[in-house]
Amino acid sequence: MTRLRPLILLLILGLGAGAIAHGRGGVGVAEQASPRPPGAVYKGQAFTFNKITDGVYHAVGTGNLVVMSNATIIEGDTDVLVVDSQVAPSGAWALREELKAITGKPIRWVVNSHFHFDHSHGNQIYGPEVQIIGHEFARQQMLAGKSQDSPAREFYVGGIPATIKNLEARLGAATDDKARATIQADLEIQRTFLEGTNAVRPTPPTITLTQSMTLYRGSREIRLLFLGRAHTAGDIVVYLPKERIIATGDLLVEGTSYMGDAYFTEWIQTIEALKQLDFDTVLPGHGRAFTGKAKLDHWQAYLRDFWAQAQKFHAAGTSWEDAARQVDLRGNAVNYPGIRAVGIVPNHGMRRAYELLDGKIK
């Protein structure tokens, strides 16, 4: 059940704050709909498009469809760049369909902020007319099947069948009509989620970089930057220097970021490099958009705390599993109110720290 809790939480919160659905008749209204991929069935809107400035939106899941990550939308003079392609073709398709209400310009650029399944598994809906850009490391990981067969995906997606069974049992037991309707709605969302993720064919970026590139789309200047290893070995930050906006993927999120593929000490340095950029607004891969640079300090402090404790446990000969149960990050609760208890779930971050400390990963 502890495994299921984050899943259900994700569903309820839609992985973000965007609970304000527009309710403009769902996706059926789209005139030139491309073939609807499996699982792309939902009520209302799948995304709320939060306008950041003219032509820049932070697309956050409503919870009506499980999309698992935010997208950043950047309009140029003739086309659109989208950061991240969600957890399945269903989510990417929903984004593309709903975007038609915002702009008539086609999506011509998709950037994968990193290789993780929840940011790249919608790539397959985009044809050769769309330039899918990622770090070379992201491409290599996806080609090696690492986006599909990963502890992160197993943790966040592997439990869906059990969740469905659980909901079916609750539906059978429920007597109250209102409760039944709620469970039924959750069940539908879970079923389409499963259907969506089963349809994934991991499709790596076609264009890769290892340093940086700049796109000039009319008056819009879009920089794609690799600032160093961090959340993974290939995180790309998308930077709009004129608008003073950055999209950070999972390198920096509203809450705490997954650490199962992290390079902890380099992550702290990479955040330092991020601080050197001139920006006001951060559009993260998870959670709400925020302003200012305070969260950069918060996340560095969290990483330093975690890494220092991991080193102590490791030196003391504590197993990584025990270390994950004993690590006390409550000192960071002032910045991350979600931290209430000792221990870290999922425990992948501690396993990763041990692998780094053992020299198993360079």
Binding site: E129, I207, Q211, M213, Y216
Partner: protein, 356 residues
């Protein structure tokens, strides 16, 4: 009879590797060789663009072709008009390396259309010169996204003044690269971007300031081909566009990088002249260093440029240098002379050269 069948079978199996080898050996396929000259053009000759054809001149693999112009008509490039362009084609659309001149844009597209109907998606500029970028706007209007080094974009947006000192005209907006990357000494030789399309892996490798400050070479890994553009040439003497940030010294560095990146079988495709292998770079490099050294010695003795030109330093190379003209060798010597001292630095892809 049974023995005969058996023998035929064995011989067929034995022949298989030979057939495979023959298929590999088929490339590069020279369809139309570049002209050898010598070419002369009367005073006041005007290039007859309507007579210049753009054709497939070489095939590097079943879906990687080279385009080049007619010989004997374009005094800027008499061996074959324009610069080489390349097209990688297939189900993912067309990736173009360079365009021909603006005047033959339609003919270049028509040449591409003889072998593919695919949309033109990507165009990379190896350097700014009009025989390589002249049809940028035309291909952008066909849907191509133009990629280049950031310095090339700067060169295009803020062109050096004309020879007469007048400001150069602003570029057509559509001709300016839409996507850029930078050369960084720390990652010298590594691709800035890698494209995976049509079964090929294509690397855009930004170069140090060499022919210009915004050079890119393009490597096709599967075909084992590198487009090395114009820091090397075997028709006429070496040319560095110093006003656009190039230098002969940088061209030596560029040649040295190719030594590292290419293997003995890699086909190197210069923008002009004939296709080569990396061993062919050695005499070119030696000539560059020899001339640069001799020019420096004379200038250090206080010789003026006319004195150095009069010394006819290229004489040992004239016989083996195709397309040798007084203009070509004098330009080369003058560049070597300018690099000896007070050589202005590169700023934003450009170098403010002293006016003579």
């Amino acid at each position: 009879m049974r023995k005969l069948v058996w023998l035929l079978g064995v011989s067929a199996i034995a022949a298989m590797p030979l057939i495979a080898a023959a298929q590999r050996a088929e490339y590069p396929l020279i369809v139309i060789p570049t002209g050898k000259g010598p070419y002369t053009f009367p005073q006041g000759y005007v290039t007859p663009w309507d007579k210049i054809e753009i054709r497939v001149t070489e095939k590097m693999s079943p879906n990687l072709f080279v385009l080049h112009g007619s010989p004997g008509l374009d005094p800027a490039h008499p061996d074959a008009s324009g610069g080489r362009a390349m097209a990688l084609f297939g189900p993912d659309g067309v990736l173009l390396v360079d365009t021909e001149n603006r005047q033959v844009a339609e003919k270049t597209l028509a040449a591409v259309r003889t072998f593919t109907t695919g949309p033109i998606r990507i165009l990379v500029n190896t350097h700014i010169h009009p025989d390589h970028t002249g049809a940028n706007a035309f291909f952008a209007q066909q849907g191509a996204l133009i990629y280049a080094q950031e310095d090339l974009r700067s060169e295009m947006l803020r062109p050096p003044p004309r020879a007469d000192g007048q400001p150069a005209p602003a570029p057509e907006p559509a001709s300016v690269p839409a996507v850029t990357y930078r050369y960084q000494a720390a990652t010298r030789g590594q691709p800035a971007l890698t494209f995976n399309m049509n079964g090929e892996t294509v690397d855009f490798i930004p170069m140090m300031p060499s022919h210009t400050a915004g050079d890119t070479i393009v490597r096709f890994r599967k075909a084992n081909v590198i487009y090395i553009e114009d820091f090397y040439r075997n028709f006429g003497y070496p040319f560095a566009d110093q006003a656009n940030g190039g230098s002969l010294r940088g061209m030596v560095e560029a040649v040295d990088l190719i030594e590292e990146l290419a293997d003995a079988n890699t086909t190197l495709i210069p923008g002009h002249g004939t296709l080569i292998k990396k061993q062919d770079l050695l005499p070119y490099r030696a000539m560059l260093l020899d001339i640069m050294g001799k020019v420096k010695a004379l200038r250090d003795q206080g010789k003026s440029l006319p004195d150095v030109l009069a010394a006819n330093l290229t004489a040992p190379y004239d016989k083996t240098t195709q397309g040798d003209t007084p203009q070509s060798k004098n330009r080369f010597i003058a560049e070597a002379y300018d690099e000896v001292k007070d050589f202005p630095p590169v700023v934003d892809g450009k170098r403010t050269m002293p006016r003579r």
